[in-house]
Symmetry: C2
Subunit: 436 residues, 2 copies
Amino acid sequence: MALVVQKYGGSSVADAKSVKRVAKRIAEAKRAGNDVVVVVSAMGDTTDDLLDLAAQISPLPPKREMDILLTAGERISMSLLAMATNNLGIKAKSFTGPQAGVLTDAAYGKARIVDVVPHRIRRTIEKGQVAIVAGFQGVNQKEDDVTTLGRGGSDTTAVALAAGLGADVCEIFTDVDGVFTADPRIVPSARKIHRVTYEEMLELAASGAKVLALRAVEYARRYGVPLHVRSSFSGAPGTLVSGTYGDLIDPNAPDGDEQEEDVMEDPLISGVAHDRSEAKITVTGVPDKPGMAARIFEVVAASGSNIDMIVQNVSAASTGRTDISFTLPEGSGPSALAALRDVKGEVGYENLEFDDQVGKLSLVGAGMKSHPGVSARLFGAVRDAGINIEMISTSEIRISIVTRADSLDEAVRAVHTAFGLDSADGEAVVYAGTGR
Amino acid sequence: MALVVQKYGGSSVADAKSVKRVAKRIAEAKRAGNDVVVVVSAMGDTTDDLLDLAAQISPLPPKREMDILLTAGERISMSLLAMATNNLGIKAKSFTGPQAGVLTDAAYGKARIVDVVPHRIRRTIEKGQVAIVAGFQGVNQKEDDVTTLGRGGSDTTAVALAAGLGADVCEIFTDVDGVFTADPRIVPSARKIHRVTYEEMLELAASGAKVLALRAVEYARRYGVPLHVRSSFSGAPGTLVSGTYGDLIDPNAPDGDEQEEDVMEDPLISGVAHDRSEAKITVTGVPDKPGMAARIFEVVAASGSNIDMIVQNVSAASTGRTDISFTLPEGSGPSALAALRDVKGEVGYENLEFDDQVGKLSLVGAGMKSHPGVSARLFGAVRDAGINIEMISTSEIRISIVTRADSLDEAVRAVHTAFGLDSADGEAVVYAGTGR
């Protein structure tokens, strides 16, 4: 018998019919002999509707009140899901984030989990009942006020509860079949990845793969919680994210009959991620003096922008000046530019250029550490496709390049093929972003 | 400086515009120098929408889950109202029933308040801030689960908080101008009642006046909380409900400038209430033996019906049998009839008759205690209008009669005129039922 934490996103519980379908899945997992804890997001568009209401009321609502408002969404979905599950003859009780013992700091709107004390959840599963927990929320215990966890909140709730309960697996149910070697909308021959390590999944998530929230993966890695990303529409196994290339456990399999699969050698490459949400800023004619680059990035960071890739040209001996380029989320562009303009005199640069027509491709794989020649093959594939590389950055298990935005899809396809990731049968798969 | 508890019903906060209007009223009361605590219901149709959703999910949802679902409604309205109030420069914080210290028993769906410990509310007003509290909800403290208070819940929350905080007045804002001498839709010349005692208001509420929940009036009487029923659309004073015919305090009047009005003698009659929601059951041919009537009402009570008026004919000497009639809420008819059929053999009655075409008129006034002849004048007025009286029941300050449903309006008008309640100018007023 396993203890399974299942997380269902907003699109999985968009209406009464979907709620009933999810209840069936919960009942199946329970009837297969597992202890089941469920984390659920707000139904479909509920959160957007509540945000609209707030916008009609106040341009700058207090964050505490905003969190009280938004957490109404999970209150609705969790109670309905508990009703639907009870209706199938499985005893189920719903719990808010505070009731589930999800303790956070006081940063309303983007609270961080400081501890999980799931006494009530444990008592519920000890009674043989299913606990259904509101995702995305916790409690600022000092004030006894509800908080929301911000982006990726429900995934994080699920992982944190799984860690706190010592669950065998945390299943992230979504509207895709798992994590793919590339976005199948761009690469129709992309394959589902059966296993991936936390590190690889972190790099994929940070590089644009939307199926799992980066933050949840970080939490899972820290506490060693195996994640199983799978479709809420089919019973097929999805992608296992864990510390090693270990076994994929199917909690719906009969008790004591866990699937065994051969442990594969570390694959060279897990997948190709892409990201079109960044922009590039170039500061030209920066005097090549110590501290100038540092000052530029200090100013940009203070404007609230997260800098991703950085490239600094070798300075021209004739002028003693250099160009510095960096990428950042497109939405941070205006405030970063304004901050840089304020220090133009101090830094003494010549010009600012802003480019939102860039795309980033990232090749991720734990195996590349021990395989020389990966970058050469990547650069070769992109060059053969006639695409120019504008920036390069690397980590131990990732290589990222920046290209023109309109060349990005072609670059992804070329690299996917060059590393032998195309599936033999080119099965058609559906891929879409997931909600919070 | 007064401590004022204000209650706004669902129709007062039906949309963003209404929420802003209510916030303005709150700001006015606060700026006039009062401490202000607000109790708010769910917006407009929210509760009905949530009930619809639940009905799509499960025919018989667990009551605990139903309460979790429904309390999402006040969560939305209270946070929006807090945002709107902050937007006007008045610091306001919202609190759920549990946070406000509204402790209840475990009767989900119709919980009773067992205590109110409003520490957080008190701290909030001590800081000079407005506390906005979710009506209709409390906490089953043993389980730390939210409960709902059932019908009239938000009025009851307001009165209970006012009692717990020792407020100077509890203002019930609604979509009518106050309590009227009769329903102005039936009697256009009905007048607003300026003052009424708890006892009279209890009789009026129990007799069909919908403007205040009976339960809230009972609570107010027990704890001596003055109620002020007034319109959320105008600044005019409404109806003061208190222990005596004392002064009407307007909390929006400048500090130290409380209005003084002459204390009137107890008026003979407060008003004429009517109720079309009851039905009459007649049990014919009941053997005139000790215990038979008791057995009948035992059986009906056990079926969950609340019996209102009872009439037992004198038994015919020739047959030794009698007829027993009683009224009860129309919706309880089927279960009461079924229960009576089950004991037909035991009781030995001849027949059952069910009549849902009855109407009840009630004349209420503390003054009638010391005035003989009130019933004679009432019966005379109804007779002169050519209307037959089918049942009569009286209390110290109320006389109720049952007529045909289609004669009820005319009876109400006749009695209203006979007791001199018609206003001189016959001002047109709008009257409507209020929400929970």
